[in-house]
């Protein structure tokens, strides 16, 4: 297990380069599956036309330039500002929730007396993750359907008028945020649990000896040490500030026309516009647009976080 101590200098250099071997698999993967296909971004700037027999790349390169015309497609919609607003706001809410709720839940889980309840709760919290959005939308429909839904049946049995859940906009921001949180909170909690697990137990021990209450322990040990993870996850999510989960916004809402002003996001809009005619130049352009914005936000957010808690920063 021991190498010659005489060759310390050589070893040092060797060790530094040998750290490189750790990144080789990942770097190779990124190269093959992220960087090489990246030339596809060109589609956003071209009027792509496949030329039979000549291959994708040739067709792409020889297609006529569209400049920024493909981006104008997006701004044809009279609702585009509303759509971008929806996408942005939902993501902000999701990010903020994702940085607070699961943290609290994780901390609470570690404090429960009953380990059995803690383990069960943790397992069960993951179940929603496995239900596809279609299944979730069926479930919601069983509650909110106008004539057959559970809630309306209870209302009408008690003499009330059925509520048109899928036609009134006011409900949906809440419904969507709730459903999203329900689906993802188990997943997020696990990340924070692992981070808490990584905290040195002796810190708590010495705090306890000093007479700190559990609350003080949480505030002065757990929270500060979780800051890097929380900060970093927050940052990572800003990179996708204009993306959205299609299943949530299209299937759960059942694409109901009357509530679109609060439920339509960018990805849903693009899907609907291009479902009749798949113009990949447009979808690539929108994707690029989302990427640029995400990048911008990430850089800004990273700059801000660097000032607050530098170890959370991404770069």
């Amino acid at each position: 297990m021991r190498t010659e101590r005489n060759r310390v200098k050589l070893n040092r250099r060797w060790k530094k380069t040998s750290i490189m071997t750790f990144v080789i698999p990942g770097a190779l993967w990124f190269l093959m599956f992220s960087y090489i296909p990246m030339f596809g971004v060109l589609m956003a700037f071209k009027n792509y036309r496949y030329r039979p027999g000549k291959g994708f790349v040739y067709s792409l390169l020889t297609s006529s330039n569209a400049g920024l015309a493909n981006f104008r497609f997006l701004f044809r919609s009279p609702d585009i500002l509303n759509i971008i607003r929806n996408t942005f706001l939902y993501n902000v809410v999701f990010i903020v929730l994702g940085a607070t709720l699961p943290v609290c839940l994780a901390i609470m889980l570690t404090r429960l007396y009953s380990r059995i309840l803690a383990k069960t709760a943790q397992t069960v919290m993951f179940l929603p993750h496995f239900l596809s959005w279609t299944v979730v939308s069926y479930f919601l429909f069983a509650f909110l359907s106008t004539d057959k839904g559970l809630i309306n049946r209870i209302i009408t049995q008690n003499g009330g008028e059925p509520v048109l859940w899928y036609q009134r906009e006011i409900f949906w921001p809440f419904i969507l945020v709730l459903v999203h949180t329900w689906k993802i909170v188990g997943y997020q909690t696990v990340i924070y649990l692992a981070a808490i697990h990584g905290i040195d137990a002796s810190l708590y021990e010495s705090a306890r000896v000093d007479g700190a209450t559990p609350f003080k322990q949480t505030m002065y040990i757990t929270v500060p040490l979780l800051k890097p993870v929380v900060g970093m996850l927050l940052l990572l999510n800003t990179a996708h500030i204009l993306n959205s989960d299609f299943g949530l916004f299209y299937q759960v809402t059942r694409n109901s026309g009357q509530i679109l002003s609060v439920t339509q996001t960018l990805d849903v809009y693009v899907y609907k516009a291009l479902t009749e005619s798949a113009i990949y130049g447009y979808s690539t352009a929108v994707g690029f647009f989302q990427n640029i914005f995400g990048c911008l936000f990430l850089v800004i957010a990273n700059g801000i976080i660097k000032k607050i808690s530098p170890e959370s920063a991404l770069f």
Partner: protein, 527 residues
């Protein structure tokens, strides 16, 4: 930090260049194979389509003209491919290899998979194409399909002459050239109401062979009074099937040219849907019925009305003598014609098979020969339509066909997916319920009264106004279900729709369509 970013950018650019070089090398190699005369090399370099499942072990053969040519054939399937696909393919290949020296490798694709495969340049020889899936006209305009105008008449004149002229001249023709072989079968749109014969007769309502759409109202009212277990006319978000087929739809579902304009001073006009009075009246009717409780309140967000729901009114397109609906519903269904017959390019374009423009002439001819076999040889057609004789179906004494249980579950799909419905034998429901073994004369007879589209050979090339069209489609997606299920009153929401369509640019699309139509009509007059 700057340096790192600069080097990163440089590195990424370099990598992308390498990537593109790699990609073009790969493609050039593949395509060199496909355009050469060596058919087997193409079979091997067909990247996306693996030949694992191909029972035809001649794939490894050298390029001699004695070995069968293997064609890659894309077919449409709404979902999973039929279970016995490999079996039937093997049987069909044995037959076709013997007769014409051509075999196929069948790949079933869903609608959006077609778009992706065509755009990415996946290899194929023949593909399903139609007005509603893998759009025939726009692909033809883009040069994706082989121009077979001369070839089909030279190499396969029998097939050319067998398929009715309307299919060629109206359906397959794009600016006078043919880019695919149409599948013959029903040529016109005939829209029927499918009425629950049992229940309506039980409450004394008389069913007529032909009725106007508005005449449904008393039936629905009567049904609602007498039965309360189901809505009289439950709808899904796509409304009644074929409900808007009495117009030709030029762009999405917002620009149309109704057939009833013919002979009036509005003949050959393309109008936005709100100037289509018949359609607007139908929307108003639907809304009235919705409010009266004849339609389920959640129609606009319901995917579809399943078989188990005993809807007293459904709709569909069919031809006279069609018996499938009763069998499907499980109770007697009365067919009442409410629209049609109409013949237009769209109606004759329900299904075609097109050949990859990148194919060599030899392979294109092989494709045509295969299609000819499919169109002329009834035994062969039945293999692809019904499966393997004795396993999936059996012939009855009158020439019709009876499916076995295995046939019904493992090889069951619509006729036009694999080819001509006229050439195939007709299916009987059971030993006792026989279908007419030769229904087609009756069908074509009904077409004598058909209204032909007056727009002629007009095909709208939407490329100049693609962006506006996409935006308009998004607007219509928002409102269409609400109109077609009667959820909203069309007069109330029309101002909003108009406003949004205007902002999306429908006027540009309309102008372009009118311009192209005028050009097309002028050209036809000149000929």
């Amino acid at each position: 930090m700057k340096k790192i970013k600069q080097t990163s950018v440089a590195l990424i650019t370099a990598i992308s260049m390498v990537a593109m070089a790699l990609a073009s090398c790969g493609n050039a190699k593949d395509n060199a194979g496909s355009t050469s005369d060596s058919s087997t090399e193409t079979a091997k370099t067909s990247a996306a389509e693996s030949t694992e499942e191909s029972i035809n072990d001649n794939a490894e053969a050298t390029s001699t003209s004695e070995e069968p040519i293997e064609l890659t054939w894309w077919l449409f399937s709404a979902g999973a491919a039929p279970i016995d696909a490999a079996l039937v393919q093997e049987a069909a290949n044995k037959y076709s290899a013997e007769k014409i020296g051509v075999t196929v490798n069948m790949i079933f694709k869903e609608e959006d998979q077609f778009d992706l495969s065509m755009s990415a340049g996946d290899e194929y020889d023949m593909t399903f194409t139609s007005d509603w899936c893998n759009d025939y006209v726009s692909n033809a305009y883009r040069g994706m399909f082989y121009d077979i105008t001369e070839l089909v008449q030279e190499e396969t004149p029998d097939m050319y002459n067998k398929i009715p002229e309307d299919f060629w001249k109206v359906g397959a023709s794009v600016d006078g050239r043919y880019y695919g072989v149409p599948t013959d079968g029903s040529m016109a749109y005939m829209m029927y109401l499918r009425l629950d014969q049992e229940r309506y007769e039980a409450i004394g309502m008389e069913l007529k062979d032909k009725m106007d759409f508005a005449e449904l109202e008393p039936y629905l009212a009567a049904y609602k009074e007498n039965y309360d277990d189901v809505y009289p006319m439950p709808l899904g978000k796509n409304g009644l099937t074929g409900f808007t087929n009495f117009c030709q739809w030029i762009a999405g579902n917002y620009l149309c040219s109704p057939y009833y304009f013919a002979g009036t001073d509005r003949e050959n006009q393309i109008v936005p849907f709100w100037e289509n009075d018949v359609l607007m009246d139908r929307f108003r009717l639907l809304n009235k019925w919705y409010k009266l409780g004849y339609i389920n309140p959640d129609a606009a967000i319901t995917e579809s009305i399943g078989k188990e729901i005993r809807a007293s009114v459904r709709a569909g397109t069919a031809q006279p003598g069609y018996t499938g609906w009763s069998a499907w519903a499980g109770f007697p269904v009365f067919m009442s014609l409410y629209d049609g017959p109409f013949i237009s390019p769209a109606t004759t374009r329900g299904s075609l098979f097109a050949i990859n423009a990148a194919c060599s002439e030899e392979r294109a001819v092989a494709c045509l020969k295969y299609l000819e076999l499919l169109n002329m040889d009834r035994t062969f057609r039945d293999i692809l339509r019904y499966g393997i004789e004795g396993v999936h179906f059996n012939y009855l004494d009158d020439g019709t066909v009876l499916r076995t249980e295995q046939g019904k579950s493992n090889w069951s799909m619509d006729g036009y997916i694999t080819g001509s419905t006229v050439t195939a034998s007709v299916e009987s429901i059971s030993e006792t319920e026989r279908s007419d073994p030769n229904p087609w004369p009756m069908v074509f007879d009904a077409y004598k009264d058909a209204t032909y589209s007056t727009l002629g050979d007009f095909n709208f090339d939407i490329t100049p106004v693609e962006a506006e069209n996409a935006a308009c489609n998004a607007v219509m997606d928002k409102y269409y279900s609400l109109l077609i299920t009667g959820t909203e009153n069309v007069d109330e929401i029309l101002p909003d729709i108009k406003k949004e369509l205007e902002a999306a640019g429908y006027e540009a699309v309309l102008e372009e369509a009118r311009k192209q139509l005028a050009e097309s009509l002028a050209k036809e007059k000149a000929n």
